[in-house]
C-alpha cells in the first residue's frame, strides 16, 4: 500500500532545468522514482537525466500522463506552477519552494481541495514511500521499506530520526513532510488518518515542533480514531520564544502551541514523547519489539 504515492505514481518535475530541479531529479531517479516528465517554460524538447522536458504541464500530460508533481520553482512563480499542475490534473502536488506568499498558499490549497488533490507543503522536503517512490529532496540512503510511518513538520530533523530508525533496524512505510509554512496542505490529522488505514504501517512517528496547534489537534484525533501506536518527538523545548505574530494571530492559538502544552496533550492520549531525537528508535523498539 503506502500512502499518497507508490510505485505506480508517475512524477512530473516542474523547474527541472534549474540547479535544484536537475540535481534532485538525478537523486529521485537514483532512488527509483518513476519520473516521466519535466516542465520548464522555453526549454521544451530538451532532456534532463533522460527525462523529456516540456514547455507546459499540459504538454507534458498529453504525452506522459503524470499524476503527481514536484515543484522546484522560485517562490514568485510557485502559485502559477502549482495551479498549472492542478489544472492539468495532478492529484499530488509538492511545492518544495520556500517563501511562497501565504495568500498564494491559501489559494492553492483551497483550489486543490475542491479538486480532490493533495498539496504536500509548501516548504516541504517532500514525501517518500520507501522503496517505491520518492518525491522531494530527502537524502536517498535512509529510506528503506519498513513498518514505521513518519509525519514531520521539519525536514532535516525528520531525516535525522529516519536515519536513527534505520540504524536501529526499522525501515519506513511512508514519510510525509507537512511543510514549514504557516499554511500547508496537509496536517498531522490528514496523514494520521491515512497511516491508520495503511496496511504497511505498524507504528506512527510524529515529528513536531513548538508553535501552532497541529500537535494538539492530532492528539484529539488520535484519541478517537487512531488504534495504531504513535510516538512523537517535538523540537523546541529550549528554544527562545522567537518572534510572535500580531495579537490577532496569537488569539487564534490562545496559549496553545507551547512545548509543554503539546507534550501534555499527546501524552494524555497515550502518545509516547521522546525527549531527544535518538530516543525515538528506543521507544520504537519497546513497541515493535
Amino acid at each position: 500500500m503506502a500512502i499518497f504515492i507508490d510505485e505506480k505514481t508517475r512524477v512530473m518535475v516542474q523547474g527541472i532545468t534549474g540547479n535544484q530541479g536537475s540535481f534532485h531529479t538525478r537523486q529521485m531517479l537514483a532512488y527509483g522514482t518513476n519520473i516521466v516528465a519535466g516542465v520548464s517554460p522555453g526549454k521544451g524538447g530538451q532532456e534532463v537525466e533522460g527525462v523529456p522536458v516540456y514547455d507546459t504541464a499540459e504538454a507534458a500530460c498529453e504525452e506522459q500522463k503524470p499524476d503527481a508533481s514536484v515543484l522546484f520553482v522560485p517562490a514568485a512563480f510557485a502559485l502559477d506552477g502549482a495551479l498549472e499542475a492542478l489544472n492539468a490534473g495532478m492529484k499530488v502536488i509538492t511545492p518544495i519552494t520556500e517563501g511562497i506568499p501565504v495568500q498564494d498558499a491559501a489559494h492553492l490549497i483551497t483550489n486543490a481541495r475542491t479538486r480532490g488533490a493533495v498539496v504536500v507543503g509548501p516548504n516541504t522536503f517532500g514525501i517518500v514511500s520507501s522503496g517505491k517512490c520518492k518525491i522531494g529532496i530527502m537524502p536517498n540512503q535512509f529510506y528503506v521499506p519498513g513498518p514505521v510511518g513518519v509525519v514531520a513538520r521539519s525536514g532535516t530533523l525528520s531525516y535525522e530520526i529516519v536515519a536513527n530508525l534505520k540504524d536501529a533496524g526499522y525501515g519506513t512505510s511512508t514519510v510525509v513532510g507537512l511543510g514549514g509554512d504557516r499554511i500547508v496542505g496537509l496536517d498531522f490529522v490528514d496523514v494520521l488518518a491515512q497511516f491508520e488505514a495503511d496496511g504497511e504501517t505498524e507504528l506512527i512517528v510524529m515529528v513536531g515542533e513548538i508553535g501552532g496547534t497541529a500537535e494538539e489537534e492530532a492528539a484529539r484525533y488520535i484519541e478517537k480514531h487512531v488504534s495504531k501506536p504513535v510516538l512523537a518527538y517535538l523540537a523546541g523545548k529550549s528554544a527562545p520564544p522567537g518572534k510572535r505574530m500580531g495579537h490577532a494571530g496569537a488569539i487564534i492559538e490562545r496559549g496553545k502551541g507551547t512545548f509543554q502544552a503539546k507534550v501534555e496533550a499527546l501524552e494524555a492520549v497515550g502518545v509516547k514523547v521522546a525527549e531527544l531525537p535518538f530516543q525515538v528508535p528506543q521507544l520504537a523498539k519497546e513497541i515493535l519489539g
Binding site: A75, Q103, A106, I109, F125, I137, P139, I210, P240
Partner: protein, 368 residues
Amino acid sequence: MKLFEYMGKDLFREHGIPLPEGRVATTPEEVQGAAAEIGPVVIKSQVLAGKRGKAGGISFADPPEEAREEAERILQMEIGGYPVECVLVESKIQIDREYYLSITIDGALRSPVVLASLEGGMDIEEVPEELIVKYPLDVSIGLKPFAAREICRRLGLKGTEAKEFGAILVKLYRLFCARDAELVEINPLVVSGDRLLAADAKVTIDDDALFRQKDLPVVEERTDLEKKANELGLAYVELEGDIAVMANGAGMAMATLDMIDYYGGKPANFLDAGGGAGVEQTARALELLLATEPRVIMINIFGGITRCDDVANAFATVKKEKGIDMPVVFRLVGTNEEEGRKILEETGVDAYPTMQESAQKAAELASS
C-alpha cells in the same frame, strides 16, 4: 513586516476605511501647526511596540500650545526599546463604544479568518473567547456582504451600525488581499455618534510577498546581524550562551539547541542555514558566526536540498581565507555526504556521525 500606525492608516485611506482626520509630524512645531488646523487632538507616538498608552506615548491636547508641549515630551521618548521618531496628530473624536475587528491568517484552518468583538480598545487576548466572533473565510468566495451580515448578526449589531461595520469589513478584506497582509487590525473601531472610525491601525505585511508590494514603505525591525543573515536568505537568532550553532532547517536547529541544552551547553546564537544554500552563501553565513566570537562553533548539517559538499567547501574556503581560531564541532550527513567528508578531512576537521556526539562534544569544549 509590521507597519507603523500611520502607514496602516494610509492603506486604510486608500481603501476607503473611515478615519479621524490626522497628520504625521516629526517636530513639536509641526504638531502645534496641525493642532491649530484640527482643533482638540490626540498625539500618538509612532513605534512598533504595543502598550503605547500605558507608556505615556499617547496624549490628548488642547489648545495647540499644549499639543506642542506634549509632542516635545513624546518625541523624546523610547517605548519598548524603540525611539519615537514621529507622531500622528489626530482629531480627538467622541468615543461612544469601542469595537474590535481584524483579519488574519489561521494556519489550522488554512484560510484567512475574521475576528470581531464588541469589546474593543483592550488587548484582544484579554477579551474572553466567548465575546469574540471568529469567522473563517473561504478564499474561493472571498469576503462577500453575506459574511459581513452573518458576523454582524453574531455580534448583535443592527441597522446602520451593522451596515457601516459590514462595509468596513469588506474594505478591510480588500486591503488584506491587495496588500498581502498577514494581519489587519482595527482596535478600537470607534462608534462616534452615528459613524464608525478606525482609531488605530495595525497592519503586518507578509514578508514573503514584499517582492510584489514594492510601493510600500520599508520598515526595518531586525538587528544588524539578523538583517545581514536575512540578506543571505538565512534565519539568525541571538541567544545568551557561548556556542555558536549553525544547522539547516528550523526543526533541526531547534533540536540542536535542545540537545546542547541537554548536555549542559549554552548556545550563543543560531543560524538556520535553511534549504539549498550554496557555497558562497554558506561561507558568508560562517563568517557571520565567526564575527560573534563564540567559544565553540557547532555545525550540524543533515543534507537534503543542502549538499554536504557545498557546506564543506564553504568551511574550507573560510578556514583558508580568514582562519578559524576556536574549536569547530562538525556533524555532516545526507546528500553528497562522502564528498563533504573528504573535503573536511583535507582541512583537518573531523565530522561526527551523530548529533548527540557532536552536541556533547560542543558542550564539553565550551565548558573546558
